[in-house]
């Protein structure tokens, strides 16, 4: 419990900054929505005549940018990007920070099994992510609904937003795993940015080529917003794959950390 509350205290500020930056992002882009939606209505009418393969190649998929949720869906890939960098950063730093700030021998000599330490730290990430997602979903709901004429499709909106949480869990798990696998991580952010952007670029390529095999590599493809809007639901196989990957990586984190050599001062 002490470890958990200590972790929360240390990470609260950073969580608030990152949440604020995602909110700011949505706010700024929604300012552009009214003028863009007018332009796009014209383009949409042209585009709708093109075959779906072509629209996919253009990265347009079936998102209707003149609709609020379609536009929000288009923005969401970038929200995922920012949110994932945060999740990955949290995942990498939470265990490895002890080594960097030379507090590992202070913590690990306490009469607490290592599994408990890992659990407390994972729990702290989890609570941060949950708070972040709730905050973000609440604020963005207010922002988005102010742009909707009539009522917002709440179910679709929640489904889109919940995909952020799931992709974040993926990257947090990858981060945790890397942090116990690599002997010493000196700076967290370069690694997080590199990995997240690599997956992001794979998704951009996947989007323009629409290769079903490529989609399995990158979590950004697991929750395709245009499909969520269309089906008002997730693709079950990707949902399961994501959970399995998260589960395996987390299990490996426990196993490796149990026997990891921790450098002392």
């Amino acid at each position: 419990m002490n470890i958990f509350s200590q972790e929360l205290k240390m990470s609260a500020a950073s969580m608030i900054y990152w949440t604020a930056s995602i909110v700011l992002f949505v706010l700024l882009f929604m300012f552009m929505y009214p003028p863009i939606s007018k332009d796009i209505q014209v383009i949409e009418s042209i585009l709708s005549n093109f075959p779906p393969e072509l629209r996919r190649a253009l990265g347009m998929t079936t998102l209707d940018l003149s609709q609020v949720l379609g536009f929000y869906g288009f923005l969401f890939i970038y929200i995922l990007l920012i949110g994932s960098v945060y999740a990955m950063k949290s995942g990498i730093s939470v265990l490895s920070e002890e080594i960097r700030s030379k507090t590992a021998d202070f913590l690990l000599v306490k009469p607490v099994p290592r599994t408990r330490i890992v659990s407390a730290k994972i729990l702290s990430i989890l609570s941060n992510l949950i708070v972040q997602n709730l905050l973000f979903m609440f604020i963005s709901y207010i922002i988005i609904s102010s742009y909707v004429n009539g009522s917002l499709d709440t179910r679709t909106f929640i489904l889109i937003n919940l995909s952020l949480f799931q992709v974040q869990l993926f990257f947090a798990a990858v981060g945790l795993f890397l942090s116990v696998l690599i002997k010493k991580i000196k700076t967290v952010l370069p690694v997080s940015l590199g990995v997240v952007f690599a997956f992001f670029v794979i998704q951009m390529i996947n989007q323009s080529l629409n290769d079903p095999k490529l989609a399995y590599i990158t979590p950004f493809a697991y929750f395709d917003v245009s499909k969520i809007i269309q089906n008002v639901g997730y693709d079950t196989s990707f949902l399961i794959i994501n959970i399995i990957i998260i589960f395996i990586l987390t299990a490996l984190t426990y196993i490796i950390y149990q026997k990891k050599d921790i450098p002392s001062l």
Binding site: F29, M32, I36, D39, L54, G59, Y78
Partner: protein
């Protein structure tokens, strides 16, 4: 000389990982192209019917995505983002890491002027960037030629790669400047991350909404658009000048602030 060697050594592993990823990415992309090109001819005709406004929205401009050059140019957009991550993080960390590693008191008591230490570190950054670009260039030339059935495009790749190099120099200089001004490597890396993400997001916003294109000066990703380079084979002189000014001023900031920096031990 020793400092330079030391820096090159400590960045070798990360450089190898980055280079490896770039090679893999280019290979995978060109492999995809071979499949894409076969299905491409009908798509191509449709593309040409696009109104110019739509084309520019996808960042295509005059590009023909089904030609290998157009396809490569789409890739190039993603290289830029990855290259930006690499450069800004390299610059930030190389300047500010001594205090984190508790090696500052070791390094700065040596009979070497601070300006010389900074020079060695900047030189190491430059060499890293050169290698990164050379690897990307060679991989591009080799894999593009492997799948290119039409006109050779090596000269165009060279031109694109040169602008990639300039963009990396800008980001590395910004990173170094931040590393010098901000005393704490963790905060410096956060600020660099914020800058990189913002410049990327701004470039997306400009693609989406042309009326805010005065923001173009804020994002190096937009200084040398691939479509223009391919079409005209020249770089915009005003943006070249702007890049030059940015690089010089951030390097000046780096020297100035390092000279007076309070070293935390």
């Amino acid at each position: 000389m020793n400092i330079l060697k030391r820096e090159l050594n400590s960045n070798l592993k990360s450089l190898m990982i980055w280079s490896g990823s770039m090679i893999f990415l280019i290979y995978a992309g060109m492999l995809k192209y071979s499949g894409f090109a076969k299905a491409g001819t009908s798509v191509n005709e449709l593309f040409n019917q696009f109104p110019p406004a739509v084309r520019s929205m996808f960042g295509l401009g005059e590009l023909d995505i089904t030609s290998i050059l157009g396809f490569y140019a789409v890739f190039y957009l993603y290289f830029m983002v990855l290259a930006g991550v690499h450069a800004i993080m390299l610059g930030t960390v190389i300047i500010s890491k001594e205090e984190r590693d508790k090696t500052a008191d070791f390094l700065f008591v040596k009979p070497v002027r601070r300006s010389k230490i900074v020079s060695s570190k900047l030189l190491a950054t430059l060499l890293n960037i050169i290698v990164f670009n050379l690897v990307t260039l060679l991989a591009s030339i080799i894999f593009v030629n492997m799948y290119n059935t039409g006109q050779p495009i090596t000269d165009k790749i060279l031109e694109l790669m040169l602008s990639l190099f300039i963009i990396q120099l800008i980001f590395a200089a910004i990173g170094a400047g931040i590393g010098a001004v901000i005393n704490d490597v963790k905060r410096a890396a956060s600020i660099s991350t914020a800058i990189l993400l913002s410049t990327f997001i701004i470039s997306v916003a400009i693609d989406l909404y042309k009326k805010i294109d005065f923001l173009i000066y804020l994002t190096p990703f937009k200084y040398f658009p691939a479509a223009d380079i391919i079409k005209t084979s020249t770089y915009s002189p005003s943006f070249l000048l702007l890049s030059f000014i940015l690089i010089i001023s951030f390097i000046a900031i780096t020297y100035l602030f390092m000279e007076k920096r309070d070293i935390n031990i």
